[in-house]
């Protein structure tokens, strides 16, 4: 009886797995396929393009849309945000895990509240402040808010990673004659690297994907990141929606993220679920 049922269950689970993959990847696949269609064939609904065409990719890097500029802006904004957030976030994370001080809970609550605060409540007063500083349409107007919104994530992930570290080892190394600095460099830092790396991936993806702040602060190609640029793409005529070029741009923007996801899926999952579930 039980033996007869087993293969059916396995088939059911396998079918469930395929369904999950299809649900997640079908729209992404459609973006790739649409981007490879010739502009006149964009409304074809065949599973494969009838003629493979790189016309859409040529168009996004052509003079009309200058997507390369937006890519450069996104790279600068996301990498700077990540670097600053790591340095700033590692300090309180260390303090939360290793030090005893009053106001720890308050700090954590402040960090949690910031993480879920509605960006629209901040964006207008920030715009006015940045306008006074002459920052509009310049990188700092996006990097500074991105850092602030990425800090909670950074602190959260780093704290949960640091809490799991064998801190006694550093003490043991000091007993064996290491200076505190040496113990930190040779024991703690190598062990902490994976956690920092995980946090860095998550913050980079966050900053790369940010839209609201950038849509308000950036005005021209000088600072517009990819998320804003894609939405503002223009077609051949003012009445034509440029879906082919948008799909191509979407692929270009998403491929680095998909590569990150494939390479570091274990770390990303660990980072996403860190802290939220243990205890």
């Amino acid at each position: 009886m039980r033996r007869a049922r087993l293969p059916w269950r396995a088939i059911g689970v396998g079918a469930g797995g395929l369904l999950v993959i299809a649900f997640c990847l079908a729209p992404f696949y459609w973006m790739v396929v649409s981007s490879l269609r010739a502009p006149h064939a964009i409304f074809e609904n065949s599973l494969l393009p009838s003629t493979l065409s790189l016309e859409n990719y040529r168009a996004i890097f052509g003079s009309r849309n200058s997507f390369a500029w937006a890519l450069r802006n996104s790279v600068v904004i996301a990498t700077t945000t990540t670097a600053v957030a790591m340095v700033l976030g590692a300090l309180p994370a260390y303090a939360i895990v290793r030090l005893r001080f009053r106001g720890k809970l308050l700090l954590l609550v402040a960090v949690l509240v910031t993480a879920r605060f509605p960006g629209v409540a901040i964006v207008t007063p920030l715009f006015e402040t940045f306008a006074d500083l002459g920052w509009i349409d310049r990188y700092p107007a996006m990097i500074v808010p991105d850092v602030a919104f990425a800090l909670p994530l950074t602190i959260w992930v780093l704290t949960s990673f640091l809490a799991e570290m064998p801190w006694d080892l550093a003490g043991a190394a000091q007993v064996d004659g290491c200076t505190p600095g040496q113990a930190f460099r040779t024991v703690i830092l190598p062990l902490a690297a994976p956690g920092v790396f995980t946090a860095a991936i998550l913050v980079f993806i966050y900053a790369w994907n940010e839209y609201l702040v950038a849509s308000v602060m950036s005005q021209t190609l000088a600072s517009q990141p990819v998320t804003v640029a894609i939405a503002k793409f223009t077609g051949e005529s003012q009445f034509q929606q440029p879906f082919g070029t948008r799909m191509a741009a979407g692929v270009v923007v998403t491929v680095p993220l998909v590569a990150l996801v494939l390479l570091f899926q274990r770390r990303i999952v660990a980072g996403l679920t860190a802290g939220a579930l243990k205890g």
């Binding site: 993959i21 106001g103 629209v120 207008t124 602030a148 939405a231 979407g250 923007v253 679920t273």
Partner: protein, 304 residues
Amino acid sequence: MSSSRPRPAAERAARGGRRSDGPLALWLTLPTLVVLGLVVGYPVARACYRSLFDDPITVAPHFVGLANYAAALASVEFRAALVVTLFFTVVSVALEIVLGFAMALVMHREMRGRGWIRAAILVPWAIPTAVTAVLWSWMLQPAGIVNHLLGANILWTASAWPAKLAIVIADVWKTAPFVALLLLAGLELIPDELYEAAKLDGAGARQRFATITLPLVRRALLVAVLFRVLDVLRIYDLPALLTGGANDTTTLSLLVVRATIGNLQPGYGSALSTLTSVLILVVGIAFVRALGVDLMAAPAEEKG
């Protein structure tokens, strides 16, 4: 305060016997506090202050007390945005939890290709929301693939209910996988022995799900619901890019941006944004209160 609680002597010894590391802790947290204060605290205070003044075009703003709040609360647009936002919150989160739970249960099974499923599930999460919006607006075109597959002729973003549905679909596609990951992590914490014991005791699959899986995954479930509810309450990118707020899809966030930036009414807009923030704060606090304070447990206190 958690830090004032006495700790076991052994733990204190392990930490080098220091009583309090106040000064060092202050220096380590100061940069973060300054950044959060300047980028979040100051603008919030500025918006609260600005919300007490009117929006004349040529002269300097006058102090009007809570008039902007009264106007906002009485306005049709605020009520409509509130209803739409709550609609998205309830419908999207419910669908995401159900779908995410189903996906997590599938991924929890031993099978070949688990790594592939996990990689696939991260793709919607990793795609920028702006790209998600553009992608779904393409698929939901009148002559697009969704209508083609459905054999229907729906004008997705051009009429009220389909426009709402379009936003729900895009949001569920993007975040149900994230919910699945949170729930999967919760499922993996449940020891297999429990299921074995229940099986020996003759519990059926449905019984095991109801008496073991559901209660033990509760915390992960609550965290997922809380995160998603607070996220959808401030939803901006998807409606802004998919419908532009047309056809009764203007959420609170969209309304705030339209009032402050589009209509140049910083006073009225600031009142709207304060109301939105208060709503999110109240929902968050109510949620945590109603469903257990353990959600807020500090990570540093989470041992074992």
